[in-house]
Symmetry: C5
Subunit: 363 residues, 5 copies
């Protein structure tokens, strides 16, 4: 959870604009992936290549039509710096791209928009949520995306549609493409939320049956996860609110209506996260109430047993004493009298408990 | 509760504007219901038909006068798409209509208003609140409504008044009709709130009598329901605040005063939901306090019994030992002395408890 | 508490503007009370009558000078409708007047202001707070007031001052009169708050002495009452904030300074209600802490008694066994040795408890 | 705490602008204190008198130069009314001055500013915070101050500096003088906060040692006090925020920079009060956690003792039975076998407890 | 923690603008450190000196180029006053510089900006966070910094880069230098947060293993620290938000983009502090839940043992009575019957506990 802090600290003392990768070590090389589309060109108008140098990318971008360059892996600062030179990016933007501990944010540059987002993934094995930073640089007819990790993303469906060469995706410009990619990321949030929701419902069912310490730890873990999600979702909402308001030259008015739709989705993500938090708090309270209640019932059982038997035991002990002169012991019906007194005591206790509502599950 | 998330996830990867029904399976066919009114035409000016195709609806809408077309059931995407073509609706609007996991919202379109609301129903059998999505498309002289489920709605009274052909409803235009329908929906919220309020009062009465685990679960369930309601009511308030502010060409100024009244009602709904939440929190605290208190009293009883009898039992055991040489056992009044000591011990204990305020219910 | 919801529900399905009384049944007839004042006219310029029909009232209002018409009881819709016609009131206003479940609010009408407030009364017998709706319609030189219940109000002092025919009240116009009446209502809030404050202080004193379940229920009841008060006070503040900002043609600038003073009072009411809520929460926590602490002390007593006597009893039982061959029993000083061992055990225990801080009230 | 409410209620029914003293009875007479300064006049330019009538004060104020008139005690309404006439104060202002239950506030009058503040004093004897109302009326070259109580204030240092006739205080005008006085009041808040901070730290130290009921009551009392402080500090911040924004003709621009400094101080007061509240809540939670933990430990001791000895006692009782035919009793080594079984039981228990982590303070 | 209050109180009664040092005694003398840079001058353009008097500093500042004068230690008011005279600083600014109990703030002066910040340091020995006040006075080509303590700061890296005479730092002007220094301070916050995060994770791990009172105290201490941090971080965010908005003549537009980056960092600091607070609250709740749960389990063990053995012991005591006439004692198989009854009782109890789910760790 505090990895972000660690990354930030490891950069301390460097001048601003220093492009140093602070994330986890990566084994795979940085890979570039370029898609170029001639609008209205149909499937033939689409070309996909995997350039080996940033400079090849630039040649791509100079051709008329829409270019999308995706960078997988940020662990080669040199490559990022050269990309920055080729596409005229501010050093601070490059620094933000490689620094994977950013909050989601939107920066307006001279002729471009710079967006930082988090892609979420539910790790089924560890039952935790993993995040990966994705940066977007949106220019006229050019979209650059930078992914933290080289393995896999949520853009597969969009690539397929792009390569098919038809649909609004091929006609809509770089801004519409960026919208579609962000939409894919936000859609994936719902997958994560659904998995988390399943965990919450599972815990809740167990909780109503019988509270055990495992449930307590699961609730605690889920709360931490909700806290973690919240940190990403609140600034995301801000980013989309600003995008949806428009006024950026690189975002066409026709895309705004789609961005508004996307904004509605992030609101829904946020609502769900907040509802999760409220539900988890409610469940913790339920858990604690249940424990208190069970404790009370346990104690009632103990008290009833003790209250009934302790006086009886005392009476029995009394007549177990070995005094020479204990006239009761000599009488013929002494034993039966004591048994009778004991029976009366028990009856009295039971009546008392019934009046107090302790018997019959009333209270 | 997480059905909404599930629906959203099932659509993942589709291009925006895809009209796919994500709700529950429906057995009944989609039914269309059209009412056409010539203002000032009296009962004769009203015509009601159940067109079989979207195209028939269009013919309806072309006649001078007010047309209300109600669609029951959204599980036939083809029908919705054709309606969209006939009435020139944006693909994103159609997508929102069939996607039944929307938050209440208001979108301004070119020549129309698009409103998404939730109709609530209290399921008496399951003692839960059920929601159903209702969408409104308001155009000049035309109102389209889309209901998620084919069975029943809360508009019966309004249809009756419409068919009677008189009153403000027939003269007021499509905007007034929309107001009247939303008013019917919000009025039904009060029915749901009243039922929920009854449940809350019932639990509270039981709680003051004697807290049992059932009450705890009921409080928990009611809190979840309040959370659920809140999710619908907050955005509803926003929708009505924006409607009431006016400035939409399809909403006449004369309708604004009615919308303000409606806005007051939603504020009241919201207030009530918040009050419910506060009351339920208060009740949970009361419950826990009660449990703690009862535990304390139980323990006091146990402690008093134990504290009185354990020393007595010890004394009795002491003289139950079988040592050969125990001079006390031989004395003539040893037994009575022991009984006296026991009596003194008990008296001392009772005095001590009285001083501590444990007897007589003082503390 | 949920009476308001009930009233709202009982009106479901009626067209807006329907004037139906939804409050409690009233035995007394609706009574009208009209006071007419010629400013600067002295005591002779004041006339008070109790007109029998709404139309008589209209005649009153047409005379030059200030007219105040007070309606006691709303259970005669016919009378209210006729009043509405005579004084040109919008149907929605009439509906709001008879619908006694309104939130306090301020509506600006064409040539009038419409204010809904709640009058509070502390019911000494039931120790609860009762509310009564009061509506004001303020026009040029005319003030209409509508009270829910026919029995009594807080305006006695003002009537007296009016009939005396002197003072600012007779010169100040209808807006100043409305201010004076609202001021009387808000002043009465302080009476209610003072009574509630006394209850809170009483409970707190008892709580510090010894917490009993009665205090718990009283705190719970007081919290509900504070919640109830809050529902009225927050919108009241809003109403007065808007009034104080001025800009209404029927409110003279010279009255604004008085309204600002009144606004200060409502802020103080609100502050007090919030302070009450904070105090009650604090008291509940104190109560729970006290109960926990007492439980802990009870348990310490039990543990000490048990820990001391259980081993002793065991030893006594041990030598109470009837084995043939128990050499200790035969020795001459066995009994005294056992007594000595017991004494040592007790001493050891006491030393242990003293070290743990359980004796001497240290912890 | 509710004295304020009581005062407000005692005025109920009086027309606005009635000047009635509602505070505590005062034995000392109202005293007037006037200081007149000729700027740049040095020590000779300063004159101090104690006028006996309000009219004498007016003569003072007419002289060129700065006049500060301080009124100690408000229990003589006649004197206040005459002062009001002499200095042309609005009746509502006079009412506010004598009504000592005001919230801190700032009112802009025609040619004056009216400020109500609270002076705080830490009562060392009762360990409570006492408040006293101070009102300022600031006019061109004239400052009137009204203090609730006749005994003592926090202005001593300022009087001394004034009478010395030098420094910015004598050159700065009435607005600078008001700033200096308010600064003295706010500075005194820090004294009160420091004393309260000491109390908090003292309680916290005790709490970490061993929680006793006294600490609980002290925390409760401190929380009430923080609540009490907060009621004065929040509106104070508002008053100073408005003053600091300037735009009042009677406040010179050169004074604004000082007021900004003062505003910073009130923010700091507010921060400290909020920090106190957070700390006290944290301490209550710590207290409760500590009590729970101690309870748990107490119960573990009891459970260990009981679990070890109850089965042993049972065994001993078993062979204490007086049945004729109990073959074990007859055997020669029966006693030793039983002792062995007992030893094994104890060993087993200890092993079990060690595994559960109950021994050795591990959990 | 309340040192700040103490400092404030020690200044009570002094006229505003009095320059009195209120911090801790310092043994080292105040030291001045001046760096002068001729932009584009390379390493030769940089001069570093340690002037002995404020007047020497002034000579420095008069040379063309950028001058940074750093003052270490504030305990020599005379030196500060002379510096103020030399650089034309307002007395209130000087007072704020030496008064080390300020909140972070930004004041706009005539031709300068005045910024107060807190430098944080994690004291590894005491495991606490220490703060030190740093003030910045930014003028055209001149930056003055004032540090509270003479020993060490976080600016080492920047000095090194400055003296190297290259990079943006030497070309960027006084505003860029101030940005770089504040950036160094904020970067150090992340170091402090990382250390604190490690402490939190350490406590959490221990907590999940077994809760002990030490963890409780650590959580309490960490919460206090988070409260302490928050007091500095919230106003810091405000300061940077205002700086980033620009509009100050002494801050160049080219620096704004860097300040925005810095603002993002402070938001992240704030987010982290809030996350820490949420996590610590969650941990406290987990702790309490764990304690409750353990208590419940302890009680179940006790109850099971007691419930099984108390009736058995009673039966044994019963037949340990010494009555002459107890027919059961005489029967040959009485002992075995009693043993059988006891076995049945135990079996019944075990079955009952199993049904209640108390055995087998189910609940």
């Amino acid at each position: 959870m505090f990895e972000t802090l660690h990354r930030r600290v490891s950069k301390k003392g460097m001048p601003p604009g220093t492009v140093t990768y602070v994330g986890r070590k990566q084994s795979r090389a940085v890979s570039l992936d370029a898609i170029h589309i001639v609008p209205e060109g149909g499937p033939e108008g689409v070309r996909r290549e995997t350039p080996t140098t940033p400079e090849t990318c630039a040649a791509f971008a100079k051709m008329p039509g829409l270019t999308w360059i995706n960078v997988d892996g940020l662990h080669d600062p040199d490559c990022i710096v050269r990309l920055g030179e080729v596409f005229h990016l501010h050093p601070l933007v490059l620094e933000d791209i490689v620094h994977t501990g950013q909050r989601p944010k939107l920066d307006e540059l001279d002729d471009a928009l710079f967006v930082v987002l988090k892609m979420l993934r539910y790790n089924e094995a560890a039952r935790t949520i993993e995040d990966e930073q994705v940066c977007f640089v949106l220019k006229e007819n050019l979209l650059l995306t930078f992914q933290e990790k080289a393995q896999g993303d949520v853009f597969g469906e969009i690539r397929k549609r792009l390569l098919a060469g038809a649909g609004r995706l091929c006609k809509g410009g770089a801004d519409y493409l960026m919208y579609a990619l962000i939409d894919a990321i936000v859609d994936n949030y719902f997958v994560v939320l659904e998995r988390m929701g399943e965990d919450i419902e599972e815990v809740e069912e167990k909780l109503l049956a019988a509270p055990t310490p495992e449930e307590l730890e699961t609730i605690h873990a889920l709360r931490r996860e909700a806290l973690f999600l919240r940190k990403f979702v609140w600034p995301l909402r801000e980013v989309l609110a600003r995008l949806e308001k428009g006024g950026y030259p690189v975002v066409a008015d026709s895309t705004i209506v789609y961005l508004r739709d996307l904004y509605d989705h992030t609101i829904q993500v946020m609502d769900t996260v907040e509802t999760f938090r409220d539900m988890l708090s409610g469940m913790l309270e339920l858990y604690l109430s249940n424990v208190s209640l069970k404790l009370n019932e346990t104690m009632k059982v103990l008290t009833m047993i003790s209250t009934v038997f302790i006086p009886l035991s005392f009476m029995a002990s009394l007549y177990g004493m070995n005094f020479k002169h204990m006239p009761e012991l000599e009488t013929e019906y002494g034993y039966y009298v004591v048994l009778g007194v004991m029976a009366c005591t028990v009856t009295g206790m039971v009546v008392y408990f019934r009046r107090k509502g302790w018997l019959g599950g009333k209270g």
